[in-house]
Symmetry: C2
Subunit: 336 residues, 2 copies
């Protein structure tokens, strides 16, 4: 019996904000798995700020999503039918299966996950790309030494930010988060143990950042770009490291990205600003995930997931929550 | 007999371009050297883009020149009277003696130089701070590997740029200079051996840079900032290094510095942008100078000095030549 597979495809390249008309919702026949393949039904879809970049027709670290193509996304599927020796019916598998309700896969680039080891959403969050991004960005690119250092992270209440802050904290650093709204800030300090959290919508972020970083900033982990990046550059300590992970404040600009006017602080502070792409660390994912799992087990890292339950048709709307700062922790669409 | 010492002092903090009224020309009595001191007469004064930064009242790598203070400058003096065991009458001494015709020193932070080993201006250029800046900026901060890499340097016909390009060349890299005007570009290619030189005043610098860097850019040594920095960021190769040495296009801005809009290329290219201050390498100056002297001796580095002869009163006017791009190589005022 033929089943219907609903796909969310890119219909047009967004100019500025992503609009409903930039997507098309299409039903196609769900094909049966061939020899060496399995079929699955989508349970969870990861929503990431990086997705905005994938929609632009520009040179980047991966090709843009093509017009008419199924939107790229990391997801977790449950195997419903299998001709693959390594995946059985009922298994949960994480992979870049895209925004669609049904998938067929030959198993390449996939990983079976064990729902008894951690809740499924955590495999897209702290134990998935999000955790890997925080781990390698902070420890390798940011070269965090730990005790005696001050780490500032922007987008602190987001998926990556919550993990960055907690890893920095368990390494002994002073940790300051920057987030939007008092509620998020309270959560960062009270629940996740940040030393301070600053509301960027407040009156005097410059003054607040100065007060919260008496010894200046050794590692600034940037998820947002724009004015916050500039304020952080002005507070760098000698030999500081600025980790460029993202720039969510700039992604929906239809005009040019605002470059950091204070970049000459890099000279004064003998500091460096460095970009990275987590895929480069693929060979070390397993080791990092094991270490993070250990920290979760010891209660040193609390996972934060923001799970929205709905139809796959709600993907476009859910994605825009990221750019409005409406999520706390890892944003996930749980497909009904 | 009391001699007069003419000093150029900072009278006001410049707003934008440095104006004649930002300086005062003052005669004071030249005092005799005390015990353990020597007196000297100024022969050569180094003019450096960094001087513009020293005039601003802002946190930087050294305190700003105070209002009413003698302008800071590296100079070479000839000893005229000495009560110092290590400096004899007739010796030439390099030090940060400032813009004045006569000096008295206890010898701290000074270095005797041998005019038979190299022409005196070279001790302010390739064998002085200029050479040190090029050497450590390119080889340590830029981590140049050499063969197979492409180096682009802006301000290429300036003091630091001419040395950077030649060191990169002798290390086996492909070298592209960016300079103002066809004459400077011809000199870089024909006289200094650059592989290509691009006139930034030309019609299509973006296209020219693309054509001159078929394998993209591995090290970009930036002396200028502004649009040229942005164009270079857009051409970075994977794991590229951007060395922030200066930003002469921005120094006379009375409004905010233009930040590099293309800084997110650092992410795409997994590249880093790093600032440095040459003073941090002081312990290694002697070793670097010896190596550069060797390269000069072998004809691998041609020194370029632009010596203006005149009264010390011409310092302010000579300094502004830098910002108008009127010098080729190291700009020096030879005091009549």
């Amino acid at each position: 019996m033929s089943q219907s597979n609903r796909q969310i495809r890119l219909a047009a390249r967004p100019q500025g904000d992503v609009k409903p008309t930039d997507w098309e919702h299409v039903d196609v026949d769900h094909v049966a798995p061939g020899e060496g393949e399995f079929a699955g039904v989508t349970k969870l879809i990861s929503l990431d700020p990086a997705m905005r970049g994938w929609l632009n027709d520009a040179r980047s670290y991966i090709p843009p999503v093509g017009i008419g193509e199924v939107m790229r996304a990391g997801t977790i599927v449950e195997v419903t039918e299998s001709n693959h020796p390594k995946f059985a019916v009922g298994d949960h598998v994480v992979g870049t299966f895209g925004v669609q309700t049904h998938v067929v896969s030959d198993g390449r680039g996939c990983l079976r996950v064990d729902p008894s080891a951690a809740p499924l959403p955590t495999f897209l969050g702290a134990l998935g790309m999000t955790g890997m991004t925080a781990y390698f960005g902070l420890l390798d690119v940011g070269a965090l030494k730990g005790e005696g250092e001050t780490v500032v992270v922007s987008g602190a209440a987001g998926a990556v930010g919550t993990i960055v802050g907690q890893i920095a904290k368990l390494k002994g650093a002073r940790v300051v988060g920057i987030a939007g709204g008092q509620e998020k800030c309270d959560m960062l300090v009270e629940e996740l143990g940040f030393d301070a959290a600053l509301d960027y919508r407040g009156d005097d972020l410059r003054g607040a950042l100065r007060a919260a970083t008496p010894d200046r900033i050794d590692v600034y982990f940037d998820n947002v770009g724009g004015e916050i990046l500039d304020l952080a550059l002005a507070r760098l300590n000698m030999k500081a490291r600025v980790v460029i992970c993202g720039a969510i404040s700039q992604y929906n600009n239809s005009t040019a990205v605002a470059g950091p006017s204070n970049y000459l602080s890099l000279l004064v502070a003998r500091a460096r600003m460095e970009g990275f792409v987590v895929f480069d660390y693929a060979a070390q994912y397993a080791e990092a995930a094991a270490e993070i799992a250990g920290w979760i087990g010891e209660g040193k890292i609390k996972t934060k997931e923001h799970v929205v339950s709905g139809e796959i048709d709600e993907f476009p709307e859910t994605l825009n929550m990221l750019f409005r700062g409406e999520n706390v922790g890892k944003l996930i669409l749980e497909v009904a």
